[in-house]
C-alpha cells in the first residue's frame, strides 16, 4: 500500500471514528519498498490539494522520512524547488509499506500489513 493511503484511512472501530486520535493511524515496525515512477508533476500538484497535510507530517515523522515544511507548498514553490518536488514524489508516489502494522491512537488496535495489504477486519470483541 502506498504511504498516501494512510491519509484516507481511519480506525474501523465505530467508537473511535469521532475521536481526533484515531487519525492518522500510526505506522509501527514498517518495512518499506520503493517503486520507480517517472516524474509526474501534474499528478503531484493535483494530489496535494486533497492531502491532509497535518496528518502527513505525523506520518512522515513516524516513518523517518525527511521533514516537510509546516504548510503544503504551492505549485509555484514546488516548481522552484526541485529537491522538495523529488522528496514529495518519492514519499507520495513511490513509497509503499509492505510489512508492519497501523496502530489506532485511540483504542490501540494494531492493523497488520502483510505483503502490502492492510487488514481492517476486526476481531469479534471490537465489532
Amino acid at each position: 500500500m502506498k504511504v498516501l493511503t494512510l491519509n484516507f484511512l481511519t480506525c474501523a472501530v465505530k467508537a473511535c471514528k469521532s475521536t481526533s486520535t484515531s487519525f492518522p493511524l500510526h505506522p509501527k515496525d514498517c518495512e518499506m519498498v520503493s517503486d520507480t515512477i517517472e516524474p509526474n508533476p501534474k499528478l503531484l500538484y493535483n494530489i496535494l490539494p486533497r492531502v491532509n497535510w497535518t496528518a502527513l507530517l505525523t506520518t512522515v515523522a513516524e516513518l523517518g522520512f525527511p521533514e516537510l515544511p509546516p504548510n503544503p507548498p504551492t505549485i509555484e514553490e514546488l516548481q522552484a524547488d526541485e529537491k522538495m518536488t523529488q522528496e514529495l514524489h518519492t514519499l507520495l508516489l513511490e513509497t509503499q509499506i509492505s510489512e508492519g502494522c497501523l496502530v489506532c491512537g485511540n483504542c490501540g488496535h494494531a492493523y497488520a500489513i502483510k505483503e502490502g495489504i492492510a487488514n481492517f477486519l476486526l476481531p469479534n470483541h471490537l465489532v
Partner: protein, 265 residues
Amino acid sequence: MLPTPSTDHVNFERIYEPAEDSYLLLDTLSSESEKGFLHERFDATEDARGNSPSPLVLEIGTGSGVVISFLHANSEVIFGRADVLTAGLDINSYACEATEKTVDVAEKIQAQDGKSHGFYLGNTLGDLCSALRPGMVDVLIFNPPYVPTPSLPVLPNFEQRAGELSYEDESHLLALSYAGGADGMETTDRLLDALPEVLGDDRGCAYVLLCAQNKPEKVKERIRKWGSGWHVETVGTSGKKGGWEKLQIIRIWRSIPHNTNNEEP
C-alpha cells in the same frame, strides 16, 4: 471498445469470476453517457492553470480486480484525466492479492502501448466502508453480493489462516461474493447507509449494481429521500436477458453545491 483486463492469473475456486454483472459495469462506465457525466464532474481544467484535485476512485468488493483495473487503465478515456487515484477493498484476502496483480498487468500493458493509467494506491482487506475517513471518495463502485439467500455468510475471521484451504473454506469465500441475505440487500443496505458520509461533499458519486429481486425501484425511492441534493438514476441495464437475474446499475450522486441554487430556487 476498451479491452477487458486479463484475469488469467486468478484462482476462481476462491475468488468471484468476472460474469455478466462485472461486464455490465465495464460497459456502463465506459458508455458515452457515463463518460460524459464523469468528464464534466471531474473536469481537470477546473481552474485557469488546469489544476483540480485528483479524484479518488474506490471499488468495494474488487474480486478478481477486473473492474477497478479497467477504470485504472482507462482513466484518461473514462474520467478525462490520468491523475486519478484508484484503490480497492475486499473482504477476501485472496481477492485483494489477485486485484493487485490484475491492476499491475493492466498497467504494464498500458505502459507498453505508450498509454497513460491512473495512480493505484493498493487494495485493503476490510468490511465495506468501515475504515474509510468521511468525505474522501469521489467515485465508489460496488458490485454487491446481491443474490437473495436465507442468511448471510459469516464474515471472515480477522486472523488470516495460513496454508491450504479446504473445499468448505473456498465455498465460503465464494458465498461472500454473491450471497446477499433477505432480498439480496443486506450488504447493499449497509453500503447505502454509509454512502452519505463516505462520498465527497462536492463531487461524490457511486455506481451500485442491483438485480431485479433487490427491488430496484424501492431502493431508488429510498435514496431520493436522503434529501434534496441527492439524485439516483438507472444508467445501465442487462435488459435483453430478462429472467430472475435481470441486472441494472444505478448511479447515485449529489448536486455539486455551486449548482444547487440554480436547480432549486
